[in-house]
């Protein structure tokens, strides 16, 4: 309580890092009554030095490392990193691998958006929205588990391809899962999205204008909710996206509600995309010829039968040419992620730079909360789908 005698009338609230709605960060809010004068995010609580320890790990070992910061959204980041490594090495994944990567990326986008919606729900106090979203997220996790063998941290994409082929019966099961999700979205709408209380809490709260969104370098659904139709999948298509038919979901309002609804729209688009992918998946190998031929001969039958790649030993020590540099951009669930790699000819990256979407959206905290009310802080925070470990890396 900054002294009443000194003429100041603001109160400094420290929200976090132990707070039901702070996540892994601290928000230093200066409030005047119920109005927030200034809000400063204090990040770095989950700074795990990913970029530095990437320099101590080989290119393959860095894959699990890349996945840890954006935990709900591993596949997209994995894809971005692997694309950068492939550019360093001059390898191209075969078409089927590209489609499988796109499949997992879109599945991951659905579950990451459901994660974001769930967190947004609990921040507004709707435990049902949280529970439903986290329950339905399990659908995508279950399908991804069958495809990759892990719940969240798939490490599915490797330089030159992917680790596993589609398991038998995957497409039918996925179709059922997608139909289920489509059936559920109207229920979400009734109980949460167009619940009058939710609308009262979100509409017109934390408005980000189009100009500000561009000026601040905001990315992802938060940008598209302000009416900017920028999506890396469309602007710089990668993997199988050039061949897919999808819309870039935008809204013009730019408030918390719009940010939430853009995510819902993207879930619908992802459902459409997954259908297209499963219908049009090309046949062929899932690992680039350069590495596939190095798989020990005794494993070739195993690989053919099970669809699971056995690594050739070379993957343990990939050595890109000295001085090579590569950049890759992907549209992760929370926005554009950029990976930059420099090689010094050794088995480990000389430098790995990872620009995550949450890092680029953190600026919004102080921008959007100016003049809002205390209760709007979680409403805005939740709408940003901000994941602190991803920003802190």
């Amino acid at each position: 309580m900054s002294g009443a005698g000194s003429g100041e009338r603001t109160l400094e609230l420290l929200i976090g890092p132990q707070h039901p709605a702070s996540g892994h960060m601290r928000l230093v809010a200066e409030v005047d009554g119920d109005v927030v004068v200034r809000l400063r995010p204090d990040i770095g609580y989950v700074h795990r030095t990913v970029e530095k320890i990437a320099e101590t790990k080989t290119y393959l070992q860095t894959i699990p490392l890349i996945e840890r910061p954006p935990l709900a959204d591993t596949a997209n980041h994995n894809l971005g990193y692997v694309m950068a490594v492939e550019r360093l090495l001059g390898v191209e994944a075969p078409p089927r691998a590209q489609w499988l990567r796109t499949l997992l990326a879109e599945m991951n986008r659905i579950h990451s958006h459901l994660y974001g919606l769930g967190i947004h729900g609990i921040m507004l106090g709707s435990s049902t929205a949280f529970m439903w979203a986290f329950g339905d997220r399990e659908i995508m996790i279950e399908m991804a588990k069958r495809l990759t063998g892990a719940r969240i941290t798939y490490s599915y994409m490797i330089p030159g391809g992917v680790r596993r082929d589609l398991p038998p019966g995957f497409a039918e099961e996925m179709e059922k899962a997608l139909r289920y999700l489509e059936r559920r979205l109207p229920d979400y709408d009734r109980i949460f999205f167009s619940n009058p209380v939710t609308r009262a809490r979100l509409e017109g709260v934390g408005v980000l204008t189009r100009e500000d969104a561009i000026r601040l370098g905001v990315v992802g659904p938060n940008l598209r909710a302000s009416g900017v139709a920028y999506d890396v999948r469309r602007a710089r298509p990668y993997a199988a996206y050039p061949e897919l038919d999808f819309q870039v979901v935008t809204r013009s309002e730019g408030d918390s509600m719009a940010r939430m609804l853009v995510r819902v729209g993207e879930i619908r688009e992802s459902i459409r995309m997954i259908r297209q992918i499963l219908a049009r998946m090309p046949d062929g190998p899932i690992l680039a010829e350069r590495y596939a031929k190095m798989i020990p001969p005794k494993w070739r039958d195993y690989v053919r039968e099970t669809g699971r790649i056995k690594f050739p030993a070379i993957l343990a020590s990939l050595r890109p040419p000295k001085g090579a540099e590569a950049v890759s951009r992907v549209e992760a669930a929370r926005g554009e992620a950029v990976f930059y790699l420099v090689s010094d000819g050794g088995p480990r990256p000389y430098r790995m730079r990872m620009v995550t979407p949450s890092l680029r959206n953190v600026v919004l905290f102080s921008h959007l909360t100016r003049g809002c009310r205390v209760a709007d802080i979680p409403a805005i925070y939740g709408s940003l789908d901000y994941f602190p470990p991803e920003a802190d890396r």
Binding site: L124, G125, S127, A129, G135, V197, I377, P378
Partner: protein, 340 residues
């Protein structure tokens, strides 16, 4: 034998039975243990899961709240160094006690009551408002910024909800032509339930009972995603248990009042119960419990309003509606529907 009979007689006398057993302390505690468990189970069902289960597997974890209570009892009660120790410790006890106090003026049946007064409705309403003041004291005593803000929110809200609450309740008094709760039930037995006579007042009263007791969507003073636990942030152990129970307790009292004022109280009394002096109370209890179930069910449906929105709702909508309900009552009385 004589001593035992005397004690039993004392217990069964309305002056002891009402505050201590029903609808007082014992049944209030039972309601607390039941309704919080029930709330968790209801929410869990809507959320497609089980909720408390393993603690008493065959009854769906019905003793979950007993376990929680025991854990609270044995937890270390922490008094923060910078808190006002006396207010901090007394706050929860006073809050709990004062919230329960209105039950002394709530009749259990036409013949069984601790206090029969011409103004028993006013007594209940006046005692009900004391809890909010205690919440303010609690919010201040903890010397925590979140509890301070939570206390202030409770203060603003109590300003906003008490006037429409009083107006809505008094409009029913106008309809029945009495301030005595026993007479109110008798009028309803002769004519129709209050909820049919004046649905507007019933609606206002119901919404305010959610607003006044932190039920969703008005769980505002202890909104966890903003204020951690609101006024009760610093409380641990059994002191926290008391504060948490107090809002349910207030809801219990309001539901008892609602069922007496709007749902016909103990009428109709099943003949099996009519012989027991406090038998009709069971009917009131059942009605109140059903209402409570409705209130806790809303947790599974709603997010929470912002404090300014709730206050605006109270001043802009509920207050005019409650004033309109006075006219509805007057109209009902003029038409002779109430027999008054």
């Amino acid at each position: 034998m004589g001593a035992l009979g005397w004690i039993l007689g004392l217990l069964l006398s309305p002056w002891v039975f009402v505050p201590l057993i029903y609808p007082g302390l014992v049944s209030a505690f039972a309601v607390l243990l039941f309704i919080i468990w029930f709330e968790r189970k209801l929410a869990a069902k809507v959320q497609r899961r089980f909720g408390p289960y393993y603690v008493l597997r065959h009854l769906g974890g019905a003793t979950q709240l007993v376990a929680d209570l025991i854990r609270y009892l044995f937890a270390e009660p922490i008094i923060p160094e910078e808190a006002d120790a006396l207010a901090f410790v007394m706050g929860p006890a006073l809050l709990f006690g004062l919230t329960l106090l209105p039950v002394v003026a709530i009749p259990v049946s036409g013949t069984f009551y601790a206090i029969r007064s011409d103004v028993s409705l006013l007594i209940v309403l006046a005692l009900l408002t004391l809890g909010a003041a205690m919440t303010l004291i609690i919010g201040w005593a903890g010397n925590n910024k979140f509890s301070l803000i939570g206390g202030l929110r409770e203060g603003f809200l109590s300003m906003a909800y008490e006037i429409p609450l009083f107006v809505a309740a008094l409009s029913m008094a106008a309809a029945y032509g009495t301030l005595d709760l026993v007479d109110m039930v008798e009028v309803q037995a002769e004519t129709a339930w209050g909820v049919a006579l004046n649905p507007l007042a019933a609606f206002v009263f119901l919404v305010i009972s959610f607003l006044a007791t932190s039920r969703f969507p008005f769980e505002i003073s202890e909104a966890e995603s903003e204020l951690v636990m609101g006024p009760f942030t610093e409380y641990s152990g059994i002191m926290y248990g008391l504060t948490m129970g107090a809002s349910y307790l207030k809801y219990y009292v309001l539901c008892l009042l609602f069922s007496i004022m709007f749902l016909g109280g103990w009428e109709p009394v099943p003949p099996q119960l009519a012989a027991v002096p406090f038998g009709p109370g069971v009917v009131v209890f059942a009605k109140a419990l059903a209402l409570m179930a409705l209130g806790v069910f809303l947790r599974a449906v709603y997010p929470r309003y912002r404090v300014d929105q709730a206050i605006r709702l109270a001043w802009h909508y509920l207050l005019p509606l409650s004033v309109a309900s006075v006219f509805v009552s007057m109209g009902a009385a003029w038409l002779g529907l109430t027999g008054a």
